[in-house]
Amino acid sequence: MMITAAEWEALRLSLYVALRSVALGLPLAIAAAWTLSRSRFLGRALLDALVHLPLVLPPVVVGYLLLLLFGTRGPLGAWLDQAFGIRLAFTSAGAALATAVMAFPLMVRAIRLSLESIDPGLEDAARMLGAGPLDRFCTITLPLMAPGIVAGAITAFAAGLGEFGAVITFASNIPGETRTLPLALYTALQSPGGDALAARLAGLSFLLGLTGLVLAEWVSRALRRRVGR
């Protein structure tokens, strides 16, 4: 099966957007997972709900909210444009942002799960051996939650390849800029005689998603074995 230039472009763009979304979301997801599982503060329940909101909201709503915040006239969007010259609405960077927000709860959940399986006593042990907070985090906590981080990243990546609603709302459907696989599929379905193309794109998405999930399971199992759990 030959891949046409348009298909290749959609595939490349999907991979690029998903990759950027993971790179953008992962550090924040680690911080959120840490905060949610380790600290007790007022408004923790609110933060928890906020993190999980994209799971239950229609993606179009997420895209719309992003547009309100990060659109060229939105408060954050205007600031980013003026201060750094960064435009998010209708760009591939915006598509990555929308994808990151949608995949965020998946990452947080996977990381939090592995974080909560770590015996907090291990951090006390490191502490008594002279390790300060950052030292403990880097040498004990981070390596032990690596399986969850990797699993979360891969799942988020696989899910990000197929993000549709939030992307099309916030970043629109621009060929070569924001037309990722699902958007290309949607466009093919809308055009007369695009059925064959749509089927091929659907097959491609299916294959990518499956590979991602199998890979996530395999890598996280290998890592768990490495840390002896």
Binding site: G121, A125, M128, L129, A131, D135, T139, P143, G228, R229
Partner: protein
């Protein structure tokens, strides 16, 4: 000197503990579970902060709430061996040992690490992961890891309690060697009196978050607060003595206790060695005349110091045997028939074989 004077309230639990112990030496925190033992060492470690109090080791103040001074745990230079070892699962044994060593000043060398590993019998295990170790091996790694961090004080929180009896017997000598070889003060938490007898120089008895009694093991073995905590069959005097001779053919040792010599069996002792032995009250027999024609090897002459109630059927008789005091449990009718009362001269009979397993070498 280890000085602890702390109070802490957590919900229903209230802790109010004050004790001081000379250093180096092993201070045992002894008591039932829930008496506050682990809380006390977590306060010393700094993992818990007292509501009020002062903790100092050899002149270094670790915490003083009056002056608002507190050293964070990672800078207290305290080695902590946890109940369940808490080895880092993603690191091999050598990296576990190195973890504290690398963060200590001066930073130790690999030779030093190998030497400690050899001392603890870990040389062949250096490349293993914690999940490939037995419980006893894990505790040895944990002990080595703590020692290599150059602690000024070592905290051991029931390090044997997660092990079966065989592993416990295998590990106890390591702790005895540690006590005898290293000049590091040790705080040892335990609810097994045998461990306390074998290891401790000073005992702090905790009961409901308060110090019920404290002192050296021999004195403490006689106080009623300790008897209240111990199982009746474990009640008995603990005495320190010295080996005077060892019969090479029978391996029976003659041990000087006060003005008497006691024959003990089943011990691996050198002549001149300091020993500590526990004489269980249930194993002792009292006679008011010097007995003859008995197989028992020890007849220790002494004077009754006190007769103490011990349940409806028995009394405990304290016998001064020339310094040390022994504790014998006899039935009430026996005590009445022999008119056992303070001042009376008696002979304490104890089989050499019943001392087997209750005589411990000390350096």
């Amino acid at each position: 000197m280890l000085e602890v004077n702390v109070s802490l309230r957590r919900g229903e639990f209230e802790l109010e503990a004050e004790f001081a112990a000379s250093t180096p030496g092993v201070t045992a925190l002894f008591g039932r579970s829930g008496s506050g033992k682990t809380t006390v060492i977590n306060l010393i470690a700094g993992l818990l902060e007292p509501d009020r109090g002062r903790i100092a080791v050899d002149g270094t103040v670790l915490h003083d709430s009056d002056r608002g001074a507190s050293i964070p745990p990672q800078r207290r230079r305290i080695g902590y061996v946890f109940q369940d070892a808490l080895l880092f699962p993603h690191l091999d044994v050598e990296s576990n040992l190195r973890y504290g060593q690398r963060r200590a000043t001066p930073r130790g060398s690999r030779d030093e690490l190998l030497e400690a590993a050899a001392l603890l019998g870990l040389t062949d295990l250096l490349a293993r992961r914690p999940h490939q170790l037995s419980g006893g091996e894990r505790q040895r790694v944990s002990l080595g890891r703590a020692l290599l961090s150059r602690p000024r004080l070592l905290l051991l929180d029931e390090p044997l309690s997660s092990l079966d009896a065989a592993r416990r017997d295998e590990l106890l000598p390591w702790f005895e060697a540690l006590r005898d070889r290293q000049a590091i003060p040790i705080v040892y938490v335990s609810h097994e009196f045998e461990e306390v007898v074998r290891l401790a120089s000073h005992v702090v008895l905790l009961e409901h978050g308060r110090v019920a009694a404290q002192g050296n093991v021999c004195d403490l073995a006689l106080v009623p607060q300790l008897r209240a905590v111990l199982a009746p069959d474990l009640v008995g005097a603990v005495v320190d003595g010295r080996t005077e001779s060892v019969d090479p053919s029978t391996r029976l040792a003659r041990i000087r206790i006060g003005h008497s010599l006691v024959t003990a069996s089943g011990t691996d002792l050198r002549v001149g060695q300091a020993v500590r032995m526990q004489l269980l009250a249930r194993d002792l027999i009292l006679a008011t005349i010097r007995p003859t024609g008995l197989s028992v090897r020890n007849e220790i002459e002494g004077t009754i110091r006190a007769v103490i109630d011990d349940g409806p059927d028995a009394v405990l008789v304290e016998v001064d045997v020339g310094g040390p005091v022994l504790l014998a449990r006899v039935t009430r009718p026996a005590a009445a028939d022999l008119s056992l009362e303070p001042g009376r001269r008696v002979w304490v009979l104890v089989k050499a074989l019943s001392l087997r397993g209750h005589v411990y070498a000390r350096s």
